[in-house]
């Protein structure tokens, strides 16, 4: 029809991918760099501190197992928050949905005593997902029908959920004894530790399998992350979810129900958060009590941000937070650095990820320089 008039950008498909991965990596590195300056200023040996941190997180199979253990719930909550973000929803209440998921697994697990594990485990996992979804359903409905902001409503429901659990563990569901907690799950309702699946001989031959406390929840987490990724990429459900997240007006024009998509997205997000509760109950504590989650629902926000809401990116992001948490003990033990320093480093990671523009500015400046040298 006519000669090409518009300058067409050269395709470099790896560029955006590199940038996508690069920014979070640089953010994490900057956080650790500034963290070490803080450690140093506080009068500790920064090199010793970080080598202890690394040792505590990756020093051996047991340490790696500890990192995995801590990353497992964060993968689920990261997925939960990330899936919500993909629909333009900020599910700040993943913590509450996690509590309800944990409650479902802990309470239902007691009823299913005596059933085979291949029945009990899937039932509990599904039940906790449904419980999480149910806990997100009312905020979702309020958002869709009357526009009540999900940040407020899911947060409110977090309080309600936590207090329900608090009440149940001192009241109706309380185990005998002094401690306010539910009855422990029977072994068939527990997620086994990975190392328990192998014989002592195998573990001797393949020592890297002796992953300490890491349990099968990580396998569920990775499978679920892949499933979420496939849903977002290959299904109409995920397509509509993303479309509404990016541009609800265009979605509405294209015949996508924004309200219904919102309800689905928040419930799926809640289901994923509920799964976090189930792995903590079934894999770690084997019961529920008032403080069984250390704010995994909130850390999930940071994980999702670091992963840029990508379901597969959530896995390394959760592992990073898991590693920081696992290494904190060794850092205290060997370098006498108080664990609050770790909190500061986590905060810095979040800061640099959230303040992505700062990192991008550095990246762009480098690109600019490179280009002016080339040109």
């Amino acid at each position: 029809m006519s000669e090409a008039r518009e300058a067409i950008p050269v395709q470099r498909p790896w560029m955006p991918v590199l940038q996508k991965i690069g920014v979070p990596v640089i953010s994490a590195a900057l956080a650790i760099a500034i963290g070490s300056i803080i450690v140093w200023i506080s009068g500790y040996d920064a090199a010793a501190a970080f080598s202890a941190l690394f040792k505590g997180a990756f020093g051996g199979p047991k340490q790696i197992g500890d990192t995995i253990l801590r990353a497992t719930p964060l993968i689920f909550t990261g997925l939960a928050v990330g899936y919500g973000f993909r629909a333009g929803l900020f599910n700040i209440g993943a913590e509450g949905q996690l509590f309800m998921g944990g409650l479902a697994a802990a309470s239902l697990g007691v009823f299913l005593v005596g059933q085979p594990w291949f029945l009990v485990v899937p039932v509990l996992v599904v039940a906790s997902a449904l419980a999480g979804a149910a806990w997100a359903f009312v905020p979702a409905l309020l958002k869709a029908r009357i526009g009540a902001h999900e940040v407020i409503t899911t947060m409110m429901f977090t309080y309600i959920g936590r207090y329900i659990v608090s009440w149940l563990v001192v009241g109706p569901l309380k185990d005998e004894g002094m401690i306010p907690q539910t009855v422990a799950l029977a072994p068939e309702a527990q997620l086994p530790r990975i190392q328990s699946l192998f014989s002592a001989d195998t573990l001797d031959a393949l020592p890297f399998l002796a992953l300490g406390r890491a349990h099968m929840g990580i396998v569920i987490a990775i499978v679920v992350a892949v499933v979420v990724w496939l849903i977002l990429k290959y299904t109409t459900l995920g397509y509509e979810n993303r479309a509404v997240g990016f541009n609800p007006y265009a979605s509405e024009t294209a015949g996508i129900s924004v309200q219904w998509t919102t309800v689905k997205a928040l419930c799926i997000s809640g289901a994923l958060a509920g799964l976090a509760g189930s792995v903590e109950v079934m894999g770690v504590h084997h019961r529920i009590f008032d403080q069984f989650s250390s704010g995994f629902g909130f850390t999930g926000i940071a994980v999702a941000l670091l992963a840029k809401n990508h379901p597969l990116g959530v896995i390394p992001a959760a592992l990073l937070f898991g590693a920081l948490s696992a290494g904190a003990g060794t850092m205290q033990l060997e370098a006498s650095v108080p664990q609050k320093i770790i909190l500061i480093i986590q905060a810095l990671v979040i800061f640099f990820v959230a303040a992505e523009e700062i990192v991008l500015w550095f990246v762009r400046r480098r690109q600019k320089e490179a280009m002016s040298h080339a040109g």
């Binding site: 067409i8 299904t235 265009a250 129900s257 690109q367 040109g375």
Partner: protein, 524 residues
């Protein structure tokens, strides 16, 4: 000595040379139009001058001396002001507050609002830019907001004013007002760079025209030395048909049948007050009218985005009065939305994802909730070549494409779906002549394939060029119907602005002509 001179300015984006050794001058008291298609590099060039981008090579001279401009702040210090296409105003603040923002008079952080108001009033007086300094931005019309932007630049001491596509968002009336403002500015000694791709504007306002194509200056001329056809040729690089040829319509069965439709607007007021019309297969029916006379609400109702409060709509005999947007699409209604950024595209989606939007649940693109990305990609590649979308691949994000290409994507999707009825709202808004010609040809091709087309446009030129029948809409009613050959711009304009009819709520008795219009238009 020119107030502004550019020498060999080169700006490179990754993989693209946006400006290729561009040189130009601007004299004191002169209006220079920078004319070119979307993506020709006009805005890039001016963003370099304004310090938003930095050029790889070249020099900028102000009053004959070389300057380095690294930020808008420095540009302002050098007396350069720029009004962007998208305004940068703080909506909840007042006119005065916005104008002085960043350069507040006063001391120790306390803003002296009395002084600020006086200064703003003085500038608005001097250049004849009348405005209420205490209005909130959110309450102002787009034209008035633009005026605030210009005042802000003047307040900051601009002697060179860059206007980036200033008319894109304005009504014809506002355009005329803007032109007179621009003329009064240059008569006060300012110089203006006017970025545009609209030929008639260039002819109307420019002293000198610099034409850009593909990042380079391809020519320079004056309105007295050329005409629109000549400019179009320079701009596009080939002959352009400004008004597409068309054969007489062959009207088939009635496709869309609208009876006594009432639709409520945003605040519960009746925006469409009982319209009745039909569109048959093989014809283009245009609804002409000044913006805000119920067209938007009518379109929304037709495509299922807003439920009508009364009346009926039928598509090929099937009632679609209460159809959702989804059912409406599935019934065969396509919709080129007025605002493509907001309603037409998901900018963060790639081309293929945008091209399947709305059809994404249907076979062969999806079955049982699983999308077939291969089929979608094939469809996208076909559409890209059929509709001449300029892109290296279907994986490119919509946001990285030029406005013209984005609109082509919407057109390709909505027409490519092969609908029964095409509702095209402002289908060429913001497009350059080449793209306008293309969209017009596509709409006529759809008509010639026996489909029904309902065109809603504020551009009379477009209405006259495409329509077989024209319905004039005024205050929510169809006040007049014309056939293509009996209409001309003046008559249309007269009826569009309420001439020949009474205003709603007027106490005066209706004239005979209004009765006739009501009979023909509303057809009761």
């Amino acid at each position: 000595m020119p107030v502004l001179e550019l020498r060999e300015v080169t700006k490179v984006f990754p993989g693209v040379v946006a400006n290729d050794r561009v040189s130009m001058t601007l004299e004191r008291g002169e209006i220079v139009a920078l004319l070119g298609e979307n993506g020709a590099g006009k805005s890039t060039l001016m963003n370099v001058v304004y310090g938003l981008l930095s050029a790889e090579h070249g020099e900028i001279l102000i009053d004959g001396s070389t300057v380095k401009i690294r930020s808008p702040r420095q540009a302002i210090d050098h007396g350069i002001g720029m009004v962007h296409q998208h305004f940068m105003l703080v909506e909840p603040l007042t006119v005065t507050e916005n104008i002085v923002l960043g350069r507040e008079p006063g001391r120790l952080g306390v803003i002296d609002f009395t002084e600020a108001r006086a200064k703003v009033a003085e500038i608005s007086q001097r250049y004849g830019l009348r405005i209420d300094p205490d209005s909130r931005i959110a309450d102002l019309s787009v034209g008035m907001q633009q005026r605030v932007e210009i005042l802000k630049a003047l307040y900051q001491g601009a002697s060179v004013l860059i206007l980036d596509e200033p008319t894109a968002v304005l009504t014809p009336q506002e355009v005329r007002e803007l032109f007179s403002v621009v003329r009064s500015l240059v008569s006060e000694g300012l110089s203006v760079v006017f970025i545009t791709h609209k030929l008639e504007e260039v002819m109307a306002v420019a002293d000198r025209i610099i034409v850009m194509r593909a990042g380079a200056v391809v020519g320079e001329t004056r309105p007295s030395e050329t005409d629109e056809v000549g400019l179009a040729r320079m701009m596009v690089g080939r002959d352009v048909v400004l008004r597409v040829e068309k054969t007489p319509a062959r009207c088939g069965d009635t496709v869309l049948d609208v009876r006594d439709l009432h639709v409520e607007g945003e605040r519960g007021l009746e925006a469409v007050a009982g319209v009745t019309f039909d569109v048959c297969g093989g014809e283009v029916v245009a609804i002409a009218g000044v913006s805000g006379n119920g067209q938007t609400e009518l379109i929304d109702a037709l495509v299922g985005l807003r439920p009508p409060s009364a009346g009926t709509m039928a598509l090929k005999g099937v009632d679609i009065t209460h159809a959702s947007a989804r059912r409406s699409i599935e019934a065969g209604v396509s919709h080129i939305p007025e605002d493509r950024h907001r309603r037409g595209l998901v900018l963060q989606f790639d081309l293929a994802e945008n091209l399947v939007l709305g059809d994404h649940r249907l076979a062969p693109y999806a079955s049982r909730g699983i999308m077939n990305r291969r089929v979608i990609a094939e469809m996208a590649r076909t559409r890209i070549s059929d509709y001449d979308i300029r892109t290296p691949s279907e994986r490119v994000l919509a946001s990285s494409m030029s406005g013209g290409n984005q609109q082509k994507v919407v057109v390709a999707r909505e027409i490519g779906r092969d609908p029964e009825l095409l509702v095209a709202a402002q289908p060429t808004r913001g497009l350059d002549v080449g793209a306008i010609e293309f969209v017009h040809r596509q709409i006529l091709a759809e008509r010639d394939a026996g489909k029904a087309v309902l065109l809603i446009s504020l551009e009379l030129e477009e209405v006259l060029s495409l329509a077989d029948r024209i319905l004039v809409m005024y205050e929510g009613r169809i006040v007049r119907e014309f056939s293509a050959d009996e209409a001309d711009a003046e008559t249309l304009g007269y009826h569009m602005t309420g001439g020949g009819g009474t205003k709603l709520g007027d106490s005066g008795a209706p004239t005979p002509e209004t009765d006739e219009a009501a009979e023909r238009g509303a057809g009761r």
